[in-house]
């Protein structure tokens, strides 16, 4: 298992500052994250993108702390329950305050929290960085399906419910996603990417990821969007750059293009038309 590498693009001064903070405040966490191989995965998986792996390491760090703290608390409770069960009618000492102890368990959690926050910011800034990209995919969610268009190319994939439309992207390439919704709120979620983002009507949501292994990954709408929400599947197919170019080329034939256009027309009849009267880009997220 490889250690998370900071992507060279998009590293701002702020991120450098966060890295410095990480070294000071979250050194143990980072050390744990770097030695990811020996650490159990706590139910999560490293995933198939660059940022999914750093999210996974963050997950491991949080889990180790949770296990330590949770274990400590449960042990204290079990000890009290066994040791101090009722053994007679004597009234125990009525101790009520122990200021040094109380201060300890106020201050220590504060330090832990700031450590967790620093680690969070490191991963978050990496995950939400918008490096330069060569491949852009416009993803449009509608009741109850997905439309993937590739600006500058004829390629378009559209499908609803169990047709499982497939988004094809090249491996080891930064892919920029422009996520929109035509009607209600949908959730763009690919489990193997350890990532999800709402498709909001009237909002252009942008993010970038970099798949590091080829394969076909299941995606699904996660935000309740009406009757066929449970069936709003899609797939992400990560291929080599050469295969990606070949795939794009298949859309230059007029039959494929017209078939896609016809499919789009048929679907648009069913879903409310997308009226982008007020498009806001995400702010504050990056």
């Amino acid at each position: 298992m490889e250690s998370p590498a900071l992507s060279p693009q998009g590293v701002t001064a702020r991120q450098r500052r966060w890295r410095r903070i990480r070294r000071v405040a979250a050194l143990p966490l980072a050390a744990l994250a770097l030695s990811g191989c020996t650490v159990p995965n706590f139910g999560a998986s490293p995933g198939a993108t660059q940022s999914s792996r750093s999210v996974f390491h963050l997950w491991q760090g949080f889990s180790i702390l949770a296990v330590i703290i949770g274990g400590l608390v449960v042990a204290l409770i079990l000890w009290s329950v066994v040791r101090y069960r009722r053994r007679g009618d004597t009234i125990p000492k009525q101790s009520q305050y122990h200021i040094p102890l109380e201060l300890t368990y106020t201050i220590v959690p504060f330090l832990i929290i700031f450590g967790l926050f620093a680690a969070t910011m490191v991963v978050e800034n990496k995950e939400l960085a918008n490096p330069t990209t060569k491949v852009t995919v416009d993803v449009n969610a509608f009741q109850w399906g997905w439309r993937f268009t590739y600006p500058g190319h004829n390629a378009m994939v559209i499908g609803q419910t169990t047709q499982d439309p497939e988004m094809v992207i090249p491996v080891n390439t930064n892919v920029h996603i422009n996520l929109t919704s035509s009607d209600v709120v949908h959730g763009f979620y690919v489990h193997a990417f350890n990532f999800s983002r709402y498709a909001l009507p009237g909002v252009l949501n942008q993010f970038t990821f970099r798949a590091v292994q080829t394969g076909t990954f299941d995606g699904q709408c996660t935000q309740l969007c009406g009757l066929y929400h449970s069936l709003m599947f899609f797939r992400v197919k990560v291929v080599t750059p050469a295969q990606y170019q070949t795939w794009l080329a298949t859309f230059t034939t007029p039959t494929a293009a017209s078939a896609a256009a016809a499919a789009q027309k048929a679907l648009q009849g069913q879903s409310a038309t997308y009226v982008p009267t007020r498009v806001t880009t995400s702010r504050g997220a990056n």
Binding site: G43, L116, T120, R197, G202
Partner: protein, 564 residues
């Protein structure tokens, strides 16, 4: 030192316990006695718990196979919408601040009644009518509301969800919302103005403190929800476009408004149960609450912080300020941790009496710990992106709310004798505890695993992923165990009906409610002890073991001695 004086007559012309006035149904319709109103709240909210639980069992049985056919896709959407709505709006909140706080807060502070008895009655009737309104959606042609209990716009507008069920949901919520606001006003006024002599703020029981903070949160949060619901109704029927893009509105605005109510609501639900558990742990360890003042400040900080964390439910919208909400949400872990350590400090070196109430309280602490620790993950945006809207989140908040059910059951075993005058059967109670406690873990732990394996919430079927079936089946077994525990509770009520007289103080209680009779008289007290600490009844019964604080010499005095 602990002299007892007769409580003076409360009203000029009638003695407090004189029985008069209407009887039967008319008595129930016209009563303004906080104890009877509280009992009505208790019964109604437990009925809601059973209804919500039945809906939950149907959801769980639908998910036992990948292509469940128990209900249709449309009915499934109604099921989980109404399950969430009933449990959050009609059970957990009203059970806490309508039932237990309504009964216990006036007695704990030595007040004759709530400050506004008629407003209190109005709260109950609005709550009952609101519940009926919301549930009656099931009997309309289009079925009940089906847009999830969060009703995200624009799915909840009239284009995507036409029909009366959704409007009844809004209407029911308006009524219960006003009911909650009135109860909040009543609680704040009661706590600020009706305390017994000597009952200074820093001598109030922790439960009363928690209810004060809860009531303030209600007053901060519920008006926002009510305003949002009216906007939603206008969007649905009056042609406004507040939440729809087509007319220039902003759909995310609904999420902001909803969660600005919704996150304080989480603490409105949780804080009362924290209070109940604190009292139970102290009484059954025969010790004072450890770190009383720290506990109060922790409660106040949770209340204050809870108003600044709403958008952690919206991390994946991409339009919120992630670092701000992340750090604010993480910070809530600090006062919550203080509470957990104070609970351990309370039972530490005590004489722990494992009554059913105590078992429920310890079960609460452990279950809540699981929910709390998984909550820390969700405060971190990258981890939230990864688990948002999956079963991980479902498991997280079910750990939390099922812990509340444990706490609530504990409170019924603990305070029930005070209200009815009769104890419940302890042996049956312990069986109930083990079914409930183990059932909760069997129910939630598979859901955590499902979420990490990528199962989104609100799925009626999962045809692509049949490998999820085993874990779902285990979770269903847990849900059945929880259902059985509720049945055992009902059996216990029937079996112990008027069988075990409780006496005034069956648990060697510490706070003022254990000083009066069981059940308390019409205006709660015939007499009151001198109040010199936060444990007046304990001081009265055990004068040689009065609270000795670490820092304050005997008798404990408050720093806020009046000067004017």
């Amino acid at each position: 030192m602990t002299e007892v004086l007769d409580r003076p007559l409360l009203t000029p012309d009638h003695s407090p316990h004189e029985e008069h006035g209407p009887s039967g149904l008319l008595k129930w319709l016209t009563t303004t006695d906080h104890k009877i109103i509280g009992l009505s709240y208790t019964v109604t909210s437990v009925v809601m718990l059973v209804i919500g639980g039945a809906l939950a069992e149907m959801i769980r049985f639908q998910l036992t196979t990948p292509n469940g056919t128990l209900v249709s896709l449309a009915q499934y959407n109604e099921l989980f919408t109404m399950h969430g709505s009933v449990m959050i709006y009609l059970f957990a909140g009203p059970f806490a601040f309508g039932a237990l706080a309504n009964i216990m807060v006036p007695i704990q502070i030595g007040a004759p009644d709530m400050a506004f008895p008629r407003l209190n009655a109005l709260s109950y009737w609005l709550y009952l009518m609101g519940s009926i309104t919301m549930l009656s959606g099931f009997f309309t042609a289009g079925g009940a509301a089906n847009f999830g209990w969060v009703a995200y716009a624009p799915l909840s507008n009239s284009t995507y969800t036409p029909g009366a069920g959704a409007d009844l949901w809004i209407g029911g919520l308006l009524l219960t919302g006003f009911s909650a606001i009135f109860t909040g006003v009543n609680l704040v006024a009661t706590i600020f103005y009706l305390r017994a002599p000597g009952m200074t703020m820093f001598r109030m029981p922790i439960f009363t403190w928690n209810m004060l903070v809860t009531a303030i949160l209600i007053l901060l949060a519920f008006p926002v929800l009510t305003a949002g619901l009216i906007m939603l109704y206008c969007d649905r029927h009056f042609g406004t476009h507040i939440f729809s893009v087509a007319g220039g509105g902003v759909p995310v605005l609904w999420q902001h408004i909803f969660w600005f109510w919704g996150h304080p609501e989480v603490y409105i639900l949780a804080l009362p149960f924290f209070g109940m558990v604190t009292e139970i742990l102290a009484v059954f360890s025969r010790k004072p609450v450890f770190g009383y003042k720290g506990m109060v400040f922790a409660t106040l900080s949770i209340g204050a912080l809870s108003l600044g964390v709403w958008a952690h439910h919206m991390f994946t919208t991409g339009v919120v300020l992630l670092p701000f909400f992340s750090i604010m949400s993480l910070l809530i872990a600090v006062p919550t941790g203080i509470k957990i350590f104070n609970w351990i400090g309370t039972i530490w070196r005590g004489q722990i009496w494992f009554s059913t109430a105590m078992l429920m309280a310890i079960g609460f602490v452990i279950t809540f710990l699981i929910g709390g620790l998984t909550g820390v993950y969700l405060a971190s945006p990258p981890l939230d992106f990864f688990t948002h809207d999956t079963y991980f989140v479902v498991a997280h908040f079910h750990s939390v709310v099922m812990a509340l059910v444990l706490g609530g059951m504990g409170a019924l075993y603990y305070w029930g004798p005070k209200i009815t005058g009769y104890l419940l059967n302890e042996a049956i109670g312990k069986i109930q505890f083990w079914f409930l406690f183990l059932g909760i873990q069997v129910f939630t732990i598979p859901m955590y695993m499902l979420g990490l394996d990528g199962m989104p919430r609100r799925m009626a079927v999962y045809p692509h992923d049949p490998q999820w079936q085993t874990l779902n089946d285990i979770s269903t077994v847990g849900a059945v165990m929880i259902g059985l525990s509720t049945a055992i509770f009902v059996v216990n009520i029937v079996v112990s009906w008027k069988k075990y007289p409780a006496g005034d103080n069956p648990w060697d209680g510490q706070t003022l409610e254990w000083f009066t009779t069981s059940p308390p008289p019409h205006h709660n007290f015939y007499r009151l002890p001198q109040i010199r600490s936060e444990r007046p009844t304990w001081d009265y019964n055990h004068p040689e073991h009065r609270s000795i604080g670490h820092t304050t010499p005997e008798p404990p005095r408050e720093s806020e001695r009046t000067s004017s």
